[in-house]
Structures are given as C-alpha cells and as structure tokens.
Amino acid sequence: MADQSDNEILLRFRVPATREAAFTDLLKKYQERLYWHIRRLVVTHEDSNDLLQNVWIRVWNALDKFREESQLYTWLYRIATNECLSFIEQQKKKATLHLSDEENGMERQLKADPHFDAQKLEWKLQLAIQQLPEKQRVVFSLRYFDEMPYEEMSKVLETSEGALKASYHHAAKKIERFLLDN
C-alpha cells in the first residue's frame, strides 16, 4: 500500500503542474522519520534542521532520476545518512583543528539540552548511543528505533547483512554495558 502511494507521488512529481503538491505530500509522509533519524545522529535541532533541508533539496533535484529499483524510503534514508556522516566528518575535522574531542563534543551538546536529565532512561540511552563510532551509531539507530529490516539497511549503508548483524550485536552490547554501569 505504501509502495503504491510512493509510486503515485512519483508520477505526480513528474508532471510540472502537480510537482510541488506531490513534493509536499512526500515531505509530509517522510519528514518526521528522516528528522528523527538525523537528530539521533547529530543531537541538536539546529544541525538536524539544516541537514534535513539539505536532504530535501537533494531529493527535489534528483527525484526525476530516481530509479524504482529500491524503495523510495530506502533511497531517502540513504541520502539522509550520507548527509549526516559527511556532517559528522566535517565536525571531527574542525574538532581536530581546534584540538578538541568531537565525540565529547556530541556528548557535551546532549548534556547542554535544556531537558537533559541524566537519571532518565531515555537520556541515558541517547548518551550511550553517542559513545558508539558513527557508523555503528547509524546501524543501531536504524535497527533499534526504525526497526528497519537488515535487507533494507544493507541498501541504505551498502554493507552486507552479515556485517550489519554483527555491528548491531556489538552496538547493543556496548549500550547495555553503558546502561548497567551508569
């Protein structure tokens, strides 16, 4: 059913008269899922908003060329993930230039959130996620929060299903240990 709706949106997007309306429908359908995927990786709303807008601009420019070999939402997640990983890489380079630790930088931003409460499980969990390497963070986020099947994840991350299962297993163990220790 969802695939059918995506196809309808794609067909309407290819017609100039209905292009903007179709794009608005697509935004409404996926914006929250993509936003939370991005937010879990980059923590602050400001960075998430910038990245989300960049993702949608890319989608607008490339949707005409989208080949329906994969599902539309897989393609959207792939764009969003790549955008986040590039952003995190840039932040790490900046942190190196300023002789500071980017991993601690993300953790610092998390703790600076006005609603942060170190005693609450949901915040502890976010803190634990920030301890993971960025690619493991993506794997854990897609599987744990979005419950994405490994088959789809392998298309998003261009990694084998076996490697993703192993990565998720290690990530879950690390987070469990962090929660037990803190």
Binding site: E20, F23, T24, L27, K28, Q31, E32, Y35, W36, R39, R40, V43, H45, N49, L52, Q53, W56, I57, W60, D113, P114, H115, F116, D117, K120, L121, E122, W123, L125, Q126, R143, Y144, F145, E147, P149, Y168, H169, A172, K173, I175, E176, L179, L180
Partner: protein, 213 residues
Amino acid sequence: MSAQQHTHNELASHAPGLPSPAPAMPYAVPAGYFEQLPATLLERIRLESDEVPALLTSLKEKNSQQPGWPYQTPAGYFEQTPVTVLANKATAVTAAPVIALRKRSLFRYAVAAAVLVSIFGVGRWYQQRAVPDIETDPVNWVRHQIKKESTEKIDSYINGSLIESTDLITEHKQEIALLTKDIDEKEILNLLNETDLLAATTNESDGSQKIIN
C-alpha cells in the same frame, strides 16, 4: 512473526538489558516545526531553482553592459593609468641608488685571498706533520726496516752478498771456459771487435775481464 516481534526477540537475545520497544525520544522540537517545514522548503527550492538562476542571468547581462559592475573606478582611471605608470617608472629610474660595486668587490677579493692562504697553509702544515705510511708505500717500508737494523749488520750483509757474487763469477768462468775450449782465441777477439763488445768489456769490472781472458 511480525518485524517488530523479530527485532524484539533479536534484542532480547543480544542485550536483554536494553528496553524494548525503544523508549520515546527525549528531544524537543520547536512548536509547529513539521507543519511549517514543507512551506519553508518549497520557498527555498523556488528561490534556488527559479530566482537564483534568473538573478544570475540579469547580473551577467548587467556586467556585459557595464564591465566590472557593481564595482566602480575613479573617473578617467583607465585613461590616466598609462601616463601614471610611465611617470612612476621614470622617477623610479632616476631615483635609484648608486651602489659602490668597487669597494664591495675589493673586500670580497681580500676575503677570498685570506681563505685561500689559510687553506694552503693548513694543508702544508698537515702534510709536514703527516707520518709516512710504511704499510702502503714500499719505499717508506724499506727505509723504516733499514733504520731498525744496526750498521754492522748491514755491512756484514753487503760483504756476504759480494762473496756470493764472486762465487757466481767463478762458476760462470768455468762454464764459459768449457764452452769456448774448442774455439780459437783469435776468432773470439774478431767477434768482439766486430760487435764493439771488447771496448765495453775493458771498462767493466775485473771479474768481467777475467771472463774474456
């Protein structure tokens, strides 16, 4: 089995200490963010896809009509530039400082000469101080060995050599006598005269004359 149940079971086996299903996200989002985002994005897209190219086109047209736009130059700048450059060039040539090359070159020569003298002096001093190498130079080795021996030993060595050479001459004399016993003395003299060997042999040592006799 549903996908949700599958992920729950997987998590229970990997990390039972993790909450399942995932707890709600603790992050806050500004009020009305998701409602406004589509309109904000479409506005940005229109600007980037329509207005920006149109603006760039108009700027290009304006620039072709008025080169360098929006920058401006003082009135008559390009007409005055060649005149100004030439005037500055002429001033620069006349105002150039004169460098006293001769003084500087004499000083350089003096320094070079001092360096050369120092090098040769040190080289000569080093050469004089150098100990002859008796291991690689055979002449030096012989000199060194002779210095080590006493004069008496050297004299006795020379005398011994002379005795040995006298014995050798005696041996040769007997051999020559044996070889020339059947040859007439006159023939031998004729041969020596023809080959000028006689004159040479008369100037040689006594031993040699004995051979001829």
